[in-house]
């Protein structure tokens, strides 16, 4: 059953958190208006809807704001109750998926930090990230014991796929930018196959920013944090 009413999403094209919501709405086939925010010049509406953190994404449904990407994903799943279901129905499986989503949460800040580092500090940060990915590679075997599915009309990505995709869907671009290879198929066969499977999904392709645009943005951020490194 669909929910009638207006759906608006305040987002920013490079934000993985906003990308999650974009992806969820598209996977569920929900009509919505997307408002691109300039984070250096936030709209009145955004500040009014999210006065506490003033961040994107904010979903506004019938004039009511919902904030925090994972909270929004659950809201979407509970409001638009037709399939595809983002979260499993079984409480134990739900707990497992929520656990792994929480596990991936610190990764954005770890990645953002690498933009501000160089030399040995950067190497250390990359090592920390790799070790976290080792845990994920092992842990995902209990989510996908038979390997990652080929996503299709019948098997669409869900909550955890969306979270993972938002953080690692552009991994190849980020690695190209740094000139470092992190997510190798030898060390992370399951995670790499997961990214590859997700890249085939039309809705994922729709929300993934173009490579050149992302490279330009990473360059801009790096120059901001390390001006001598231009």
């Amino acid at each position: 059953m669909g929910e009638e009413g207006s759906v608006k999403l305040h987002g920013m094209w490079a934000s993985p958190f906003a990308r999650r919501v974009n992806l969820a709405l598209k996977l569920k086939g929900i009509d919505y208006d997307y408002i691109e925010e300039d984070l250096a010049n936030k709209s009145e509406e955004l500040l009014q809807y999210n006065p506490i953190s003033k961040k994107v994404p904010v979903l506004v449904h019938n004039g009511l704001p919902i904030v925090e990407s994972l909270v929004i994903l659950e809201y979407i799943d509970e409001t638009w109750t037709d399939s595809p279901y983002l979260l499993p129905k079984d409480p134990y499986q739900r707990a497992k998926h929520r656990f792994w989503a929480a596990f991936f949460e610190p990764i954005f800040d770890m990645m953002k930090k690498t933009l501000m580092l160089q030399g040995e500090a950067l190497e250390t940060a990359v090592k920390e990230l790799s070790e976290k990915l080792d845990v994920a590679e092992h842990g995902m075997k209990e989510i996908y014991p038979n390997g990652v599915p080929s996503f299709s009309q019948e098997v669409k990505p869900g909550y955890l796929d969306i979270v993972f995709c938002s953080l690692f869907g552009t991994q190849d671009v980020i690695e190209e930018f740094f000139g470092i290879k992190v997510m190798t198929p030898e060390r992370y066969p399951l995670l790499v196959s997961w990214i590859d499977a997700l890249k085939q999904v039309p809705q994922v392709q729709e929300v993934t920013p173009p490579k050149e645009k992302l490279l330009g943005f990473l360059q801009f951020l790096r120059q901001k944090y390390l001006p001598q490194n231009a």
Partner: protein, 245 residues
Amino acid sequence: MTNDHQHFIPFPSKTETELRVIKMGEEVILLDFWSSPFGMRVRIALAEKGIDYEEREENLNNKSSLLLKMNPIHKQIPVLIHKGRPICESMIIVQYIDEVWQNKVSLMPSDPYDKAIARFWADYIDKKIYSIGKLVWVSEGEVQEAAKKELVECFKLLEKELGDKHFFGGQNLNIVDVALIPFYTWFYALETCGNFSIVEECPHLVGWAKRCMDKQTVSNSLPDQYKIYTHLLELRNQHLAHLKG
């Protein structure tokens, strides 16, 4: 067939097979530590639902092999073990409890929007109160002053959300109440270490906390504030001694 069923559930292990016998009546186990606010959340949720469970106190300096098997990734309490399977992370456990034992009092509103609001505030509490509160009782000088100021701001925001409701959940506790009330056990330590009065800064929040404590499900789940103060004071002294070298 006897009345007393026993389940023989081998826990998977890379090294040795550790076998445990779990009786049907004791199929809920909580791995816990007395002073953990996160453990307290789970105790309250279990009490609200009237669930029988076995509480196992962990020695955090010598963690049990069961804890290490059930939560290999974070190796932290609380861990709820239900029918031999682990659930980790306190708010994930609380939601699991609410979703499994549905015929009891509900810890979540039924409307999806109200659920989103509750989840938002539980997440806010998770992100802010532990880390900022800890800075108040563990540090001194400027760091402590800044943390105090921020903590009071957080409490005031929560007071605003509470409004004139009896609890965040209205007439009954919800996940926001459950997420926040364990930190009431820190109030004496916060006030003493930080030299300020929480009831003066946030009277409505203290009023709410006292209403929670009137409920046996809460008061039976929380240790005494003075005991917590002594414990936190010890951690503070260790931390400050370590800093001074």
